[in-house]
């Protein structure tokens, strides 16, 4: 019984830490997405998309364990879209597709909604 309570209280603390981190993480994702969209060189576009992907990967990896399943699934979908673009036929173009930016924007909005 005590073990179960310890577990609940421990997970609650981690959940709090996750949400604290989510504030900066969603800002970083938005920052990298905008930079990718506005950049004109391949390295900058793909580099910023890769940076956004890595943060999404971290969110997707833990959100589900903490009870934020929808957020985790949305992060995973965004991550997969970026991976598909970076491995796809347009990966040699200095271009961040509009649809990808919209999807990332939706995710950032979802984060903001949760944080409020």
């Amino acid at each position: 019984m005590d073990g179960g309570l310890d577990m609940m209280s421990g997970l609650e603390k981690i959940r709090g830490r996750f949400l604290d981190l989510l504030v900066t993480r969603q800002q970083s994702i938005a920052h990298h997405a905008v930079l990718a969209y506005e950049s004109h060189t391949l390295d900058e576009v793909n580099g910023n998309l890769a940076a956004a992907r890595d943060i999404l990967h971290q969110i997707a990896g833990t959100a589900g364990s903490l009870g934020f399943d929808d957020l985790g699934n949305a992060a995973r979908m965004c991550e997969n879209e970026i991976v598909a673009h970076l491995n796809g036929p347009d990966n040699d173009l200095a271009l961040c597709p509009d649809a990808l930016l919209v999807q990332i924007d939706d995710f950032v909005e979802q984060c903001k909604g949760m944080l409020h």
Binding site: I14, F18, D54, T62, S65
Partner: protein, 323 residues
């Protein structure tokens, strides 16, 4: 158990700390990068770890590279390693098994999944401790220990694409989990392996198995495969990407390479192992326990082929003598 967990995400490390505390009496150490983990392992006086949990996707040094570096440390050559990864990382998972992973846990994970995986690691650790005790006991009883049972799977080190039998079972299990059934299983079995096992001590027999493994691995080079020694002189191979092996031709190629290889026992007597091959078992449309059964079928089919070869050879000479 002493466990070292490595992940660049602090939240994962906190979750692991919480979950591991909930599933038993374990001591967890954490590191946020491969470099930090290696520093911990190299710390003088650091008590050995009995299990590793490594995130696959990490910046700078990823989990597969870290695993390779850990395997290079003699003390950790066969310590169980659980990779922690996302569902979508199939190619990374394959690379991890090739590098020597024992199994993997998918993110996001739950405490029950972790309990099952860590429980499996505990069983492996206990079995190995028992085997080590038997070896020490045998060393005091006789000059040349014969502690290796014929049916016992053994670890083959430093041969490309050869993994532990337990890891192979876990690898095949993840094929079914991910619905990737375009695979084929088949096996090679050393002919008259009982004769070799009786004539050789444990060290020599282990060396013979490693040499045969190397020849099979070299023969299959260029194809996508993993193989494992499952005991009884039998190796099981699992291929992917729809490749259907011409098993008879492969057997000839392996035996040709074995005939060119010079092998000796400790007394300098030549050893001339040859293998038989079993049926190729397609894993497509199989799932769950049927996939594991396919592994067993490949193993028993190869063993039966080797026994049949020996029986036919024996019957042939009996017929000749009667004539």
């Amino acid at each position: 158990m002493r466990i070292l967990a490595v992940d660049d995400d602090p939240i994962i490390l906190e979750l692991l700390t919480q979950f591991v505390a909930a599933i038993g009496e374990h001591e967890l150490t954490t590191a946020e990068s491969g470099a930090e983990a290696l520093d911990i392992l190299k710390t003088p006086g650091c008590a050995p770890f009995e299990c590793f949990m490594l995130d696959i996707q990490m910046p700078q040094m990823d989990g597969v590279e870290l695993l390779t570096r850990i395997r290079d440390i003699a003390r950790y050559a066969d310590t169980p390693v659980l990779m922690v990864t996302a569902m979508s990382d199939k190619r990374y998972i394959d690379a991890a098994f090739k590098a020597g992973a024992t199994d993997y846990v998918t993110k996001p994970f739950e405490v029950n999944e972790l309990r099952v995986r860590v429980g499996m690691v505990e069983k492996i650790t206990q079995t190995r401790q028992l085997r080590t005790k038997k070896i020490f006991a045998a060393k005091t009883a006789a000059a040349v220990p014969q502690t290796l049972e014929l049916h016992e799977p053994l670890s083959v080190y430093d041969v490309d694409n050869v993994i532990d039998f337990i890891a192979m079972e876990n690898y095949v299990a993840q094929l079914s989990r991910n619905a990737l059934f375009g695979s084929t299983a088949f096996g090679f079995s050393v002919r008259d392996v009982e004769g070799f096992h009786q004539a050789l001590n444990a060290f020599e027999f282990s060396g013979l198995i490693s040499d045969v493994a190397e020849v099979i691995s070299d023969t299959l080079a260029g194809h996508q495969f993993l193989m494992s020694y499952g005991g009884d002189g039998t190796f099981v191979c699992v291929t992917e990407s729809g490749w259907r092996p011409d098993t008879e031709r492969l057997m000839d190629d392996v035996n040709l390479a074995l005939s060119r290889m010079e092998m000796f026992n400790n007394d300098g007597q030549p050893l001339e192992p040859r293998v038989s091959v079993g049926s190729a078992v397609r894993m497509i449309w199989k799932s769950g326990s049927a996939v594991m059964d396919a592994l067993g079928e490949a193993h028993s089919s190869a063993k039966a082929a080797a026994e049949k070869y020996e029986r036919n050879r024996h019957d042939f000479w009996l017929t000749e003598q009667r004539a």
